[in-house]
Symmetry: D2
Subunit: 386 residues, 4 copies
């Protein structure tokens, strides 16, 4: 039997870490051949060029520049358009048997559209979830373009089926990000120096003490408030007095405002900034260990909802970005108000650690995904089931 | 109250005629301002540059070239990509309050994506239907990007709601194409000479005699068979011995093959081609009158399913393109086999005329659509209802 | 020594035949590796997909769709823009040591710009000539982007040097199209049946009788007159009464008008069209033999100026397209007026054959080009010499 | 007489200040109508969104996003390609009688190509100069696409004419940037607080003391050394011990490396960075006053060659970027070596001020340019003069 060529398109650093175990399982599977395409912010210096460390893990079949600069709504649309132009060339060259797209960032719709229009069976990982902002529309639109759905939770599978997809094309594999979390939990100690290894800017505090982690992205439907929102978080976090690892935002409409807010805070609030250190990115495994040893994760990253539920890390989830996502007992939700955020952080850092929750998977998603990609019947024809 | 700016994007001749009464109603509505964008094959000479006659009806706010030549699957994707790049500029200039996209041609996904990514409320006309090929995926993906759904039938409304859309955002307006059909029925006589008015190539037969009409497009998921399919239709139709008005296909993956098949048939089967006359396009009202006075419509155009049910015109619907669409008693389905097609044509031309069926509307869709566009609450935030 | 990778970009059928002997010589050269990119109208069915026969001669490294449909001035610019986007990806993948661009069609500026911006040494074949329309600007602009100039005539070399290029980077190789002409002259008999081999539409006359050949393209700065111009030629040629091989125009602003003129003439002037047969394209060698055995070539193709001077074929050159090009004694120039054209055709078909003229080369350009590509120092830095 | 519509395309902050007096003169001219298009890095936050202050001076007819992120050679080419796609739409909408492009940044070739392909007369400001890197190729390629040449110096006029341009289409207007310099010289005192007005990062030193100014961009043909080059400059400048106003680089291949070098220096050499303050941009007039009151300008900006010769400001010009440009007595050239740079700075800060040099104009370029645009015959047809 000829190996199935599986083309996985990674458009951002977090998506990569989220599917890494699936990539490994695909690469190792005797009936599959991996074609890894890296694009979007994952090839940009400004966002910590992820392609540099990805290529240490897997050969990269194509590296694609698709981001039209401007970081506003117009350039989001143009970026997706340029991505569609570019990815169709890539697929035409690679001739994959399957294209895999991950989650719901706006540019993943370019991957899905290119595959669907070129009659290549499309696999969607992490469909069926519910959230805020444009991601919600993108995610379900991809579901309607996809031929195979590999979802994280039972509820997600139910939703995909209720939307009219054939139940035989829907598989609950769990989220492969939980596989990494599972591996990290087996050797949880912080066995590296974050400042030496990752540089970044700000204070090099003692990371064996208690610390917190912040990762907050702009919400694309609330762009005009992005700077204001990050300011609230900056003031609340610095009011706690704990050393803090802070991550720059993803490239997105509004990320200039978020980054600008951080830069301005650093300049104007020098003493408050004493406890902060800013990183562009971190290897997935290192980041998970950083979380495991932290007092709390603050922000609106999906890591707080997903990996942290499995890791048992307390989370303060801010604003609307994760609205609608299923969550475990480790999460406290907060508005954008600095007082409410600060209160939630205090609550989380005072309490006992939450217990492990297998809501998003049992740590074996990668191999299950590879097996399904190797065995599932391939088709590009589908109909609403009702 | 400020008028709502309604930007309607027309990407093909048939889409235009399908929404013309809605455009008229929008233009006349005191609370709406029409911004008409014409693009796709509707601005190309090769497909009978529709923008030329459209601008006699309405001012065109922007004319956009987006078709990347090649008419294969790769260029379909590139066309949508270029469309997304171009339409985002257009929307940025026009700053509409609402964007309206029609039906399910592949390039309409570019319209929908541009609007959704730019946080402009998106209205989808003709969602919730079921059909074959890539249209199926595109239609439902647009549903998931759209904020307001103006559907043609009750079943369509049910489907959109079952996919998780808010019932308050779903309206059964009927299809505006039926409005035109209704107007044409009021003065049904063929009051023009098709050959003089539209030129085209082939025989100028006596059009007051009995005649048939053919309109067959390539099916994007069956591109490799497009030439073969049209050949079967050519042989079956010419075996009937009736004068025939034949329309060239839409620009689409495969249309070169369809056109090539027709050209080759004309050269090699000169005597069989005696009864055929080929047209690029016709004004909507003229086309409807041509249908009303015909014995039968043959092919795979949605006109056969929609307008012809209201007009009571017998139809032989060939192949998979309209699979899944609700149909009236006027339709006989056929495979691509020439014998089966010929038998169906004979059956349709021998029988009594079918009676009118209001399945797709009652002829008042246009004004209803305009009224909804003026009154419906505008939002870009939505969630699955389950 | 590592082989130099030479990427040649072919954007149209005529450019291919013009460099074929150079491609062969590059492929055979021990120090060179050929990377052939086929794009522009050379990959489009509508213009007789040249890539199909090219790939029988050479492996194609990349096939690129870049033509934005519309065939007007706006889409010319967009086509070049899309070509630039696409070719930069191609060069990034192929990593050539040299990029070769041919002549002066508008889309060749995309090749030149991509190479120059990516710091890849650029070789220009056929610079330094003078002509009408946008080609003039494109040709000299490419000269200013190019690092190595392989020109056809001594006058061309002088012009390139006078424009400020380093004389050491300018080589008179002759035009490789003359190599093919030289080969065709060695076995000049028409050893194939044009109708059987190439199909086309129109009358299958007796091609062993006297016949003429027509090839007329629209002039991009005279687009609005393209249909009118072709009409004059159609009436003058058909007035002569000789069987005629007629070639469809290149894809260009105005080619729809030219094609439309031909189609309309065929429909309305059926008896005048009796002597005409229309072809999309022909293998270069077959085309040269067709010319050798013809009474006369009519139109505005550069083949009339170049190959026909070497072949000694009489030519009626119409209009401004070849204005400024050096020409041999075989050419009579004519305005677009049908009477003047007809008079010139009669003069050419009555006279003795002109003698061979080596103005554009001696038939050994291909190997000379390959040798220069292998030996010339590679640089991307240059300065005006004054 | 109908006013001539003059479309000026500005792609970067420095280009804007360079033509500002011409824009004013065009706007005021009774026979001209200004259509100002702002694009490239001039619309990007990251480079100090110039469109924000431009729109205070002139109405902006179109704002275009064309920068594909990545800042490497591939994305330079893609940026020009996207620019060509976008600008052709803009010109199609604005229908200018003339398009004006300025100088030689790589993306200006997109402006020139769009205009030339669309048969719009193209005016080139600042052709005929000689310099290093890709600018050299771009500048002369634009000359060959342009119909009217408005140059800064007599030598430039001679070069343009020697390249084969019609002498009647070449005008020595001087550089409009000198007009601003002339105005600034009339009120030379530093009448604003740079730190309050422009923010930026770094030390707020006493700007009434002696200070120096640095502006150094990456050289596109030496991208791999960009970080190394800026490091040498950083060490040499900080060795002098004078307070320093330092400007971030233009968006260009290599600017990430330059910015990264600066960021890294600031983090690792905190004490050396004490005397530095970093700015994104400054209003042209403020910038000129900053220069007039400085001890010396260091880097490779063309401002050092042009404006500073008129202002009589000493300049240390580093590396190859301005190679070939005519220069006054105010300039000392230096290699990239830190010792050589430091020696040159010391020499310049020790000597007497150089006297004014009118090499690049007499301060009246703007009105002259407007007058020529209003009076020159418009044509798109040209031929080499030899």
């Amino acid at each position: 039997m000829k190996k199935r060529k599986v083309c996985v398109v990674v458009t951002a650093r977090p998506s990569y870490s989220r599917v890494k175990t699936a990539l490994t399982a695909i690469e190792r599977h005797p009936d599959l051949e991996l074609q890894l395409v890296v694009t979007g912010s994952a090839v940009l210096d400004r966002f910590g060029d992820a392609s540099e460390f990805i290529q240490k893990d897997f050969p990269i079949a194509a590296k694609v520049y698709m981001v039209v600069e401007g970081e506003n709504l117009v350039t989001s649309a143009k970026t997706a358009g340029l991505g569609l132009v570019e990815l169709s060339t890539v697929f035409d060259n690679l001739r994959p048997d399957l294209v895999v797209t991950i989650a719901d960032r706006y540019e993943t719709l370019a991957t899905a559209t290119a595959a669907a229009f070129m009659n290549i069976p499309l696999v969607h990982i992490q469909g069926g979830e519910v959230s805020g902002s444009i991601d919600e529309k993108v995610r379900h639109a991809i579901t309607k373009l996809a031929d195979l759905h590999l979802v994280s939770t039972k509820r997600a599978a139910e939703r995909v089926i209720r939307m009219g997809e054939n139940p035989k094309a829907v598989f609950v594999t769990g989220c492969p990000s939980i596989d990494l979390a599972d591996m990290a939990l087996k050797e949880p100690q912080l066995n590296f120096d974050p400042f030496k290894k990752y540089g970044g800017v700000g204070t090099d505090f003692n990371h064996s003490d208690k610390y917190i982690v912040v990762m907050q992205h702009p919400v694309t439907t609330e762009v005009s408030n992005a700077q204001c929102h990050i300011m609230e978080t900056l003031y609340s976090v610095t009011s706690i007095g704990l050393p803090t690892f802070w991550f720059w935002p993803n490239v997105d409409a509004g990320s200039d405002a978020t980054s600008g807010g951080i830069r301005s805070f650093r300049e104007t609030e020098r003493s408050l900034s004493q406890n902060l250190h800013f990183f562009k990115n971190m290897l997935p495994d290192d980041f998970l260990k950083l979380l495991i040893n932290s007092q709390c994760l603050i922000g609106n990253s999906s890591v707080g909802i997903r990996e942290c539920s499995y890791l048992g890390v307390p989370v303060v989830n801010i604003g609307s970005r994760q609205e609608g996502r299923e969550r475990g007992a480790n999460v406290i939700d907060s508005s954008y108000e600095r007082e409410e955020i600060a209160a939630a952080i205090r609550k989380q850092t005072d309490c006992d650690r939450p217990s492990q929750d297998k809501l998003y998977g049992d740590g074996k998603a990668g191999p299950q995904i590879a097996e399904i990609l190797a065995r599932a019947p391939l088709t590009i024809e589908k109909r609403l089931t009702f």
